[in-house]
């Protein structure tokens, strides 16, 4: 049996993510982005600076982290919370396999619901320069992957993962990042933008973090979060009594 991916674990995770009420947010946020993009496009026509404003202000700063929270924590948090993870753990399946599979699913879901709508919004907003659309889509995809790993870890570590994730997404990424320039160096959003600026050449996208540092941080955070989540699950104990 493969050690990184178990199809049954993946199926259960997909169903858990998309089959519950919280999945509505997964659909609602991209829809909102598209509606806003259409509205803005009708108001302004194709315009680089407005497009950048919407894509970085709403798509990357708000939508991507929120979807990351939903997908990352939703992939494992509820199961640990209600104890149904016991059915996965009491099987001859290695626990790192469980984590890796769940992470993969969370990443796919968040890339699907965050990066693809971002790309579409980019095209709608700015049909002329596809650099922008591609650049932001890449940034959204990269950020989604990092967020998935971070929030999956949160889902394993705390029962209040969603709230913690929201505080991070809304307060740290949106607010502090805008107010305190120094905080931007510690922001998944900025790292992703650094990568995007490389892809969307011509200065369409800019970041406060240099590319090498951004790549190192992105990869590092993703790996460390994944490793730590696997470790925590391995020693996760289910105390039956509440």
């Amino acid at each position: 049996m493969s050690t990184v991916y178990h199809p049954t674990v993946a199926r259960l995770t997909y169903r858990a993510l998309l089959g519950r009420r919280r999945a509505m947010i997964l659909f609602a946020l991209p829809l909102l982005l598209i509606v806003i993009s259409v509205a803005v496009r009708m108001l302004t026509g194709a315009d680089d600076s407005t497009a950048r404003e919407v894509l970085s202000g709403f798509a990357l700063a708000t939508m991507v982290p929120l979807i990351g929270v939903i997908a990352g924590t939703g992939a494992i948090g509820p199961e640990i919370d209600d104890g149904s993870i016991a059915y996965l753990l009491a099987k001859p399946v290695k626990r790192p396999t469980i984590i890796l599979t769940k992470l993969l699913v969370a990443m796919l879901v968040s890339v699907g619901f965050a990066a693809i709508p971002t790309f579409a919004a980019g095209l709608i907003l700015d049909g002329n320069s596809q650099h922008l659309a591609v650049g932001f889509a890449v940034a959204a995809a990269v950020a989604s992957i990092a967020y998935s790993a971070i929030f999956l870890l949160l889902g394993v570590v705390t029962r209040h993962a969603v709230v913690a994730g929201l505080v991070y997404a809304l307060v740290w990424e949106s607010l502090i990042g805008n107010l305190v320039p120094g905080a931007r160096a510690l922001s998944v959003q900025q790292w992703a933008l650094a990568l995007a600026s490389k892809v969307a050449d011509g200065g369409a996208v800019s970041s406060d973090v240099g590319l090498p540092l951004a790549v190192v941080l992105l990869v590092g955070v993703t790996l460390v979060a994944t490793w730590f989540a696997g470790r925590r699950l391995r020693s996760l104990t289910l105390a039956g009594e509440e």
Binding site: R21, R22, L29, L32, I36, A39, V40, L43, T44, T50, E53, V54, G57, F58, T62, L66, H160, V162, V163, L166, L170
Partner: protein, 308 residues
């Protein structure tokens, strides 16, 4: 416990023999049983007090009390400035106050709406309420009323402080009273609208954390989306669009209503409020519709809950 009258009488008349064993077994209750309106009122009071942490643990008083203080503090400062610098009018209109401090109001709502309704759902206390003489509508009225009242206290208290300051500064009584009245009216509308939306979102989930998150997300995302698109419209000089866009978030809805109906200055970018009478009417209709809709949704939500 009230003294046993017969025992007291017996003791008085027979001082020599005052040893006895009182019956402390089960007693039946034949006193008054009050009606639904009393129950509704009791639940309203309890929930309103609960919104400020009264009658609950000391810990749960901290946040609402801090928010209340934060809400009132600027009003006090404005008063002081107005009185000591002998201004001729308040530097901030009554109707603007709540809009400036909308983040505080949002936080209060996000913290207290779930505590009011998701607790009952999570711990399944609702089934105990509905097994008592009240009806579903009593519960909804009491909870909605209490949330709106709590918000009204939060939004009206600073207005009272402003008004008191204005009178101390001997500003024009008629203008100030009119402004204060409009401010109160707008605060009432805001309390009903926010309270309704907050409770509907909170009642969706028994998890308090999710409720808090849902309320914060709904208010900040809608407000953020509306203002950023309004910003784009402003850059493009499309002033009518600014006015129409305000229909899509709770805060801007209140702004639009008070701009059109109460003659307030709009806080929209460039101060462009609802562009015409149709828009103005629509603002009011949407607000009233949302209030009625929130009530209806709450009623529907609790129809399914039952004894759970």
């Amino acid at each position: 416990m009230p003294p046993e009258p017969t025992a007291a009488v017996a003791a008085a008349t027979a001082p020599a023999d005052n040893s006895r064993i009182h019956d402390i077994g089960y007693r039946h209750y034949d006193g008054t049983r009050l009606d639904r309106s009393y129950i509704r009122r009791s639940l309203f009071t309890q929930s309103l007090r609960g919104a400020y942490g009264l009658g609950r643990s000391a810990k749960s008083k901290v946040l609402p009390m801090i928010l209340f203080a934060v809400m009132c503090l600027p009003a006090g400062i404005i008063d002081a400035v107005t009185v000591y610098t002998h201004m001729t009018k308040l530097p901030l209109e009554y109707t603007r106050y709540a809009l400036y401090l909308q983040a505080v109001i949002g936080l209060f709502l996000a913290a207290q709406a779930p505590q009011s309704v998701s607790r009952d759902l999570r711990f399944k206390t609702v089934s105990l309420y509905f097994s008592r003489p009240m009806e579903r509508i009593d519960y909804v009225i009491a909870k909605y009323g209490a949330m709106a009242a709590a918000l009204f206290i939060l939004t009206a208290a600073p207005l009272v402080i402003l008004y008191a300051g204005a009178l101390l500064a001997k500003l024009d009584f008629a203008t100030q009273t009119a402004g204060f009245g409009k401010g109160l009216l707008a605060a009432a509308l805001l309390s009903l609208l926010f309270g309704g939306i907050g409770l509907v979102l909170a009642a969706l989930t028994p998890r308090r954390g999710f409720g808090v998150a849902a309320v914060i997300a709904a208010f900040t995302i809608s407000y953020g989306a509306v203002t950023s698109v309004q910003g784009v419209a402003y850059q493009q000089g499309d002033h009518a669009a600014i006015g129409w866009l305000g229909l899509f978030s709770p805060v801007t809805l209140i702004d639009g209503v008070q701009t059109w109906w109460l003659g307030a200055r709009s806080a929209f970018v460039g101060n462009y409020g609802p562009p015409n009478a149709v828009a103005g009417t629509l603002y009011l209709l949407v607000v009233l519709g949302l209030i009625a809709g929130s009530f209806a949704l709450l009623m529907r939500r609790y129809r399914k809950v039952g004894l759970g």
